[in-house]
């Protein structure tokens, strides 16, 4: 197989094309030496081309993440081969695996320790919404219940190809950001996520009022926990729920229907 030798000036033009300033152009004759671009384009280009992930694995998905980083798939093509164990040095947290209640305080702390701009990818069904273990008593159904997520990657586990596709989506997202509107340049800065506590069950300090209102009301807190198939009663998951819970479910269904219609 023979390849024509690349035409380097053309190649260079191709590659820099998307970074050039949309309106300001350089006089003829200088354009081999001088480029004009915008801060945003330059800044986003450099940020997304060397995004260092946190060396951080939770469960099965982490194994596919390691496979993605290793020689066959090779994350260094994205400038991401430097996985940093310290959150202070990393830009991207790939939440790769099942988030448990016992682990989530640590994850939130790590997230808070990452320097901005920081990004979060929820890799796999578990990190996205609990996955196969959603009903588990120690499982958090999705890391987005605690920290904001930028890209969700479906799969159980996502193949390395899927992870790379997710990373490319991440790059696209970075490309749309601007230093003038980004949160981390705002005067007030962006807020820390309060660390959840391990009480009788895990609780989020942001929801303390909500929890107190329910526990102190003297009513049944969540789904009634008795009952079994053998005992008869109304079949289905809505059986034995309190009136409030039924109302919440009805509202959620209405919202979903409205979204579908609109």
């Amino acid at each position: 197989m023979s390849l024509a030798p690349p035409n380097f000036p053309d190649l260079k033009t191709d590659q820099v094309e998307s970074y050039l300033h949309p309106s300001v152009s350089v006089p003829e004759g200088l354009n081999n030496n001088v480029l004009v671009t915008t801060i945003d384009r330059l800044y986003n280009w450099s940020r997304r081309s060397s995004m260092w992930p946190l060396l951080f694995g939770l469960a099965c998905c982490a194994i596919e993440m390691i496979a993605t980083a290793s020689s066959r798939f090779d994350l260094s093509r994205f400038g991401m081969e430097v996985m940093r164990p310290s959150p202070r040095q990393s830009d991207l947290m790939i939440v790769s695996g099942t988030v448990t209640k016992k682990m989530v305080p640590a994850i939130v702390r790590i997230y808070n320790q990452m320097a901005e701009p920081r990004y979060v990818i929820a890799m796999g069904a578990c990190a996205t919404g609990g996955g196969p273990f959603k009903e588990g008593y120690n499982v958090v159904s999705g890391i987005d219940k605690y920290v904001p997520v930028d890209v969700y990657i479906p799969g159980c586990p996502p193949t390395p190809e899927a992870l790379m596709f997710g990373l490319m989506k991440m790059h696209q997202k970075v490309d749309t950001q601007s230093v003038t509107t980004a949160d981390w340049y705002k005067r007030e800065g962006s807020a820390f996520v309060p660390v959840p506590h391990l009480g009788p069950d895990i609780f989020d300090p942001r929801q303390a009022d909500l929890i107190r209102a329910e526990t102190m009301s003297g009513e049944a807190v969540a789904a009634d926990t008795g009952g079994d198939r053998a005992e008869g009663g109304v079949p289905g998951g809505l059986r034995n729920l309190g009136e409030k819970a039924k109302a919440r479910i009805a509202q959620a269904k209405e919202r979903a229907a409205a979204r579908l219609a609109g």
Partner: protein, 599 residues
């Protein structure tokens, strides 16, 4: 290298289970023999347990307390049990490493609120498993040295594996949930709870008044030791916390270490950061639904996990497996053992400080094997390939040729390359030799199994001691090494991977034609009432599944005897006295996978 590899040692002959049980009955006339499906066991009162264990250990030759677990019979619907018996039964499985053969089973009935004596004085390996039973079932083991929560956290409300404990998202006890099948009227679980999370709080609980409980783990209670004779030159030990987010701990595992200078003087493992309630969910699933969940236990070896579970269910149902399926199972399980051993060798080197390069070499061949898995099962990692009575799909065209290429051309060369590059390496030798020593007797009494005890010279391998599948047809050795240190634990894996290559070569050559699934397959299974324990030699040790059926389409009790978890019993005794940097590699050489440790 220069170490002599012991030739395959044959075990003394299978343990005489009935005779051993008779020994106990002789000593304890009150013990009641019971037969539950394929398993015969003895029912022992709590106050006689220690005596029974002593008889088994000292006279019966059962030196390995393999598994301890508990069953809550609250909502048992089978006919074989009296309804008014005690609520819980604690189950003990014991083996003889010298003789091999089947297990001796003891049941100890206890009622709610009662306690039973700890087995730790007789078998120190009971430690972690008794803590797990306390954590999940709330049974107290009198005299246990450290009875704290292990998978959940101190302060958690309730003991979740009890049949009457339900989480906030709870829907029904049995799947498929009727809201989804046949009616498709589902609701998002989040909407059921005001705060949209799977959490529940006791009534009258006020989050503002809540204080984090101060719990002391044993290392923080360790007496402050002081060094040095002079008043002005004393040192004090400090507690260092490693994990749960730590690049070396192979996942979310935490070690609390008390060190003096750099020497570890006490170590306490802390786990549960990946406890995803496998068993609770498993008892709601139908029998077959659990198969893909077993993939996610030790997520590097889905094939051998499938096999352990299939074996236990087949025991319960009395299913015969066609010959071709048996061969396919052997091929897949041994390929996954190779993957596992390559992986663990790479990461032992990682822990020694050779960050990533050896690991990248070691897992290169893994991709070849994963491609084989993908083409036969549809998935790279989570293969879900075995079925009760066989396997799911036959080999696609050309598979056997590709596999032959991998096991004849690629793998032997890759293993030789690793051997060449690593075994003589000076750092591997100086950091590995003599580090993390425990004698074979100590390891067995701590219930350690797998490559760890073979690296201590004990030729205990279930493929030989209680052959399952068609392992008795292949010509392979059980390699052992004498030193029981990190180096031997690294090297034994290389040797075992070579044996696995030999087995796959033979199995591919002898692969018969024929059916791949006994019976008619299907989705709904109702094994007859009874209990069974199926175990395979997983790449990390003995992987056992303890199942109780009450004749319904869901397992009544589904317990996993996870080798990674139980091998951690040995972590603290192995590490104390070595440097803190050695702790990392000692842990690495145990080869744990957190999905299996925490389940």
């Amino acid at each position: 290298m220069s170490d002599i590899v012991a030739p395959s040692t044959t075990v003394a002959g299978p343990l005489d289970v009935a005779g051993t049980l008779a020994l106990v009955q002789e000593a304890l006339p009150d013990a009641k023999p019971v037969s539950a499906g394929p398993t015969d066991y003895l029912e022992v009162a709590p106050d006689q347990l220690i005596e029974a264990l002593q008889v088994l250990r000292d006279q019966g030759g059962c030196d390995l307390l393999s598994s301890i677990t508990c069953t809550d019979y609250l909502s048992y619907q089978g006919r074989a049990r009296a309804k008014d018996g005690p609520r819980f039964e604690v189950v003990y499985h014991l083996y003889s490493t010298a003789q091999g053969g089947d297990c001796v089973v003891l049941h100890v009935p206890v009622d709610d609120g009662e306690s039973l004596p700890t087995a730790t004085p007789v078998y120190p390996g009971a430690n972690l498993q008794e803590r797990e039973v306390w954590d999940l079932y709330g049974l107290v083991f009198d005299g246990h040295p450290n009875l704290r929560r292990i998978l959940l956290w101190e302060g958690f409300e309730g003991h979740p594996m009890r049949k009457d404990w339900h989480e906030a998202y709870y829907e029904e006890d049995q799947k498929p949930f009727r809201s989804r099948h046949p009616r498709a009227d589902f609701a998002r679980s989040e909407d059921k709870v005001p705060w949209g999370k799977n959490t529940r709080y006791p009534a009258d609980w006020d989050p503002d008044d809540w204080q984090e409980p101060v719990t002391y783990v044993p290392v923080s209670q360790d007496p402050r030791s002081r060094n040095g004779a002079g008043d002005h030159l004393s040192t004090e030990s400090v507690v260092v916390n490693l994990g749960p987010h730590h690049p070396s701990t192979h996942g979310v595992f935490r070690m609390i270490v008390r060190i003096e200078g750099e020497t570890v003087i006490a170590l306490e493992p802390d786990m549960g950061y990946l406890h995803r309630n496998h068993e609770k969910i498993g008892e709601r699933n139908t029998w077959l639904m659990n198969m893909p969940f077993t993939d996610r236990l030790d997520y590097i070896n889905s094939m051998s996990n499938n096999w352990g579970y299939a074996l236990a269910v087949e025991k319960l149902m009395g299913l015969e497996v066609p010959e071709r399926a048996e061969y396919l199972r052997v091929i897949m399980a041994e390929l996954s053992r190779i993957v596992n051993h390559l992986w663990s060798i790479g990461f032992i080197l990682n822990d020694l400080g050779a960050l990533q390069t050896p690991a990248l070499y070691a897992i290169e061949e893994r991709e070849m094997i994963l491609d084989l898995f993908e083409s036969v099962s549809g998935a790279r990692m989570m293969c879900n390939y075995l079925r009760f009575g066989g396997v799911h799909r036959d080999l696609p065209a050309g598979w056997a040729e590709r596999a032959r290429y991998v096991v004849h051309e690629r793998l032997p060369r890759a293993l030789d390359q690793l051997d060449d590059l690593l075994s003589g390496n000076e750092i591997v030798n100086t950091r590995g030799r003599g580090v993390g020593y425990l004698s074979a007797e100590q390891l067995i009494s701590l219930s350690v199994t797998g490559p760890m005890i073979r690296a201590a010279g004990v030729p205990y391998d279930i493929r030989r001691c209680e052959p399952y599948g068609v392992y008795d047809r292949f010509d392979f050795d059980i390699p052992t090494l004498p030193h029981s240190d990190v180096y031997d634990r690294y090297y034994i894996r290389l040797l075992e991977a070579r044996e696995s290559v030999r087995i796959v070569q033979q199995a591919l050559a002898g692969l018969p034609e024929g059916d791949i699934l006994a019976g008619k397959g299907g989705y709904v299974f109702r094994p007859p009432e009874g209990e069974a324990y199926g175990r395979v030699e997983g790449p990390k040790g003995e992987l056992g599944f303890y199942l109780v059926s009450d004749g319904k389409p869901n397992p009544y009790r589904y317990h996993i005897r996870a080798p990674s978890y139980i091998n951690l019993n040995a972590l603290a005794p192995m590490t104390v006295g070595y440097k803190v940097a050695d702790a990392i590699v000692i842990l690495g050489a145990i080869d744990i996978v957190l999905g299996e440790v925490d389940r």
